[in-house]
């Protein structure tokens, strides 16, 4: 029984709960199991799975969403955007619009230019033709290369906080809080390169939303996520929408598309 309890506590600590709360939850669990007259393992299942469920149950948004303020403005608009590299046409005449509080998904076969489209939205690539209109404050979560291998998560928060002249302390506080929403506590001294793939990707996502941008661009954000983290991310996306941020997400995983306001499909690559 003590093993289950130790695993439970450890898993809850990893998910960012504070020690007093963990004590209370552990105590409750042991009492409830005693009530059933069974070992905790038999009542609740494996400790890490139960801890995951409990942590997520505690993270439900309790606050009501902000009231809608009139007609939501547009945060991103692409009109007739095309991109060609030499003879290779990567994007052909793409138009889309994302308003405040909306979630738009970009889907399509591999190689059809989803990442290129997102980079055009972020401004790192210029389109060959078409216009791009967007808000000034953008958060970008790239598929690769979004984190520095040799910096710890906290050092990342301090660095990204300086982008919009936030104090380092505030950046760390916000970053840690956002990490907790994704069910993760930043380890103190591990550089990003030593984190597991899923955890590193969570850091990647947190960095994109650190300055609370008006537009969020996510490129396949759930690489390496287990089911719990995947659920947490979608809950976090809902929170962004409730606060009026616009979200554009490039995705392979089509399971959650019913939660999306609109889907943009890119054509499969044609051989020129």
């Amino acid at each position: 029984m003590s093993d289950w309890s130790a695993n439970f506590r450890h898993a809850l600590t990893e998910r960012g709960l504070d020690p007093a709360r963990i004590d209370q939850l552990d105590c409750d669990a042991l009492e409830q199991a005693a009530d059933h007259g069974l070992a905790p393992e038999q009542v609740f299942g494996p400790a890490t799975v139960y801890a995951d469920r409990v942590a997520r149950a505690l993270r439900c948004p309790a606050a009501a969403p902000l009231p809608a303020q009139g007609e939501p403005g547009c945060a991103l608009r692409l009109t007739g955007v095309s991109k060609r590299y030499g003879r290779r046409q990567v994007l052909r005449d793409v138009s889309l619009e994302v308003r405040e509080g909306e979630l738009v998904a970009v889907v399509g076969a591999n190689g059809c230019g989803k990442s290129t489209l997102l980079q055009i939205c972020a401004g790192t690539i210029r389109p060959s033709s078409g216009t791009v209109e967007r808000v000034a404050h953008v958060g970008y979560v790239p598929q690769t290369g979004g984190t520095a291998e040799l910096l710890t998560p906290v050092e990342h928060f301090q660095l990204f906080a300086a982008a919009r002249s936030d104090s380092r302390g505030r950046g760390v506080a916000i970053g840690t809080q956002l990490a907790t929403s994704l069910g993760w506590r930043p380890p103190a001294s591990q550089p990003a390169g030593q984190l597991s793939g899923g955890t590193r990707q969570k850091l990647n996502v947190v960095l994109g939303e650190l300055s609370r941008p008006d537009l969020l661009l996510l490129d396949e954000p759930y690489q390496g996520f287990d089911y719990g983290a995947y659920v947490d991310l979608w809950a976090q996306i809902d929170r962004w929408r409730e606060t009026g941020a616009a979200v554009l997400i490039v995705t392979h995983m089509l399971g959650e598309l019913h939660r999306v306001d609109r889907v943009v499909e890119l054509d499969a690559p044609k051989d020129c």
Binding site: A122, G123, V132
Partner: protein
């Protein structure tokens, strides 16, 4: 300030690559020990070694940060802050390295002009850092960059400093100042050396400015949209 944050992050990252740091520190020492019996030559190669180490440091920290830098640009950092911050970080590490080695040279050798040795080291650091960074921005690859650096620096080492070819290579200022500090005491040598150093630094900074503007550019949107909601940082906090 943005540049300060970049400088801090660069130093934090550099200090984590322990074995690489160790080897870079050992590089000038190895050169020095190789020529220790020829005192005048020993200090020159020590300074050149410092320049080599600093430029390699600058090259690798630039190349390894290229993807992150793009993201930092989208997040709101200016390319000037990114370049300046990284350069300052590498120069700081170089200055620490060079003070240690200046002390070594002064203690181990019989040196007339301590200030001259310090000046040689300063040239090495001041030229080495932007040299490594410009190669990193132009070639964008660690292997190719390291090879290019190797070609430039090894040629610098092996060319007779009198020749025109040596004058065209970036670290010649170290030799020029050495002429004054260790051998002749002729102030014309000093001004030649410093002029070459300053000129090289200016050229390299121009290259860096151009290359970073190209590599780190963010294309502004055709129109900037305005939102109607509250300021971002107050949401949910």
């Amino acid at each position: 300030m943005q540049a300060v944050a970049i400088a801090r992050a660069t130093v934090q990252g550099l200090l984590r690559r322990r074995s690489a740091l160790l080897m870079l520190v050992a590089l000038p020492l190895a050169f020095y020990l190789a020529r220790r019996n020829i005192p005048s030559s020993a200090i020159v190669v020590l300074a050149l070694g410092v320049g080599w180490a600093v430029s390699t440091l600058a090259l690798f920290s630039t190349v390894s940060a290229l993807q992150l830098d793009r993201r930092l640009r989208v997040a709101g950092f200016t390319s000037r802050a990114i370049v300046c911050g990284r350069l300052v970080a590498v120069v700081l590490v170089g200055l620490v390295l060079s003070s240690v080695y200046t002390a070594l040279a002064v203690l181990d050798q019989d040196v007339d002009r301590v200030g001259g040795v310090a000046l040689m080291m300063l040239c090495a650091v001041a030229v080495g850092a932007p040299l490594g960074m410009s190669i990193g921005l132009l070639l964008r690859s660690e292997l190719e960059g390291a090879l290019a650096l190797l070609i430039v620096l090894a040629t610098q080492f092996m060319t007779n400093p009198e020749r025109l070819l040596a004058h065209c290579l970036p670290l010649w200022s170290v030799r020029g100042v050495a002429d004054w500090a260790i051998w002749s005491g002729d102030s014309a040598d000093l001004s030649n050396g410093l002029a070459h150093g300053v000129g090289t630094v200016v050229v390299l900074l121009v290259i860096i400015t151009g290359a970073s503007a190209f590599r780190l550019r963010i294309h502004p949107p055709d129109r900037v949209l305005r939102t109607g909601t509250q300021p971002a940082l107050d949401r949910l906090l």
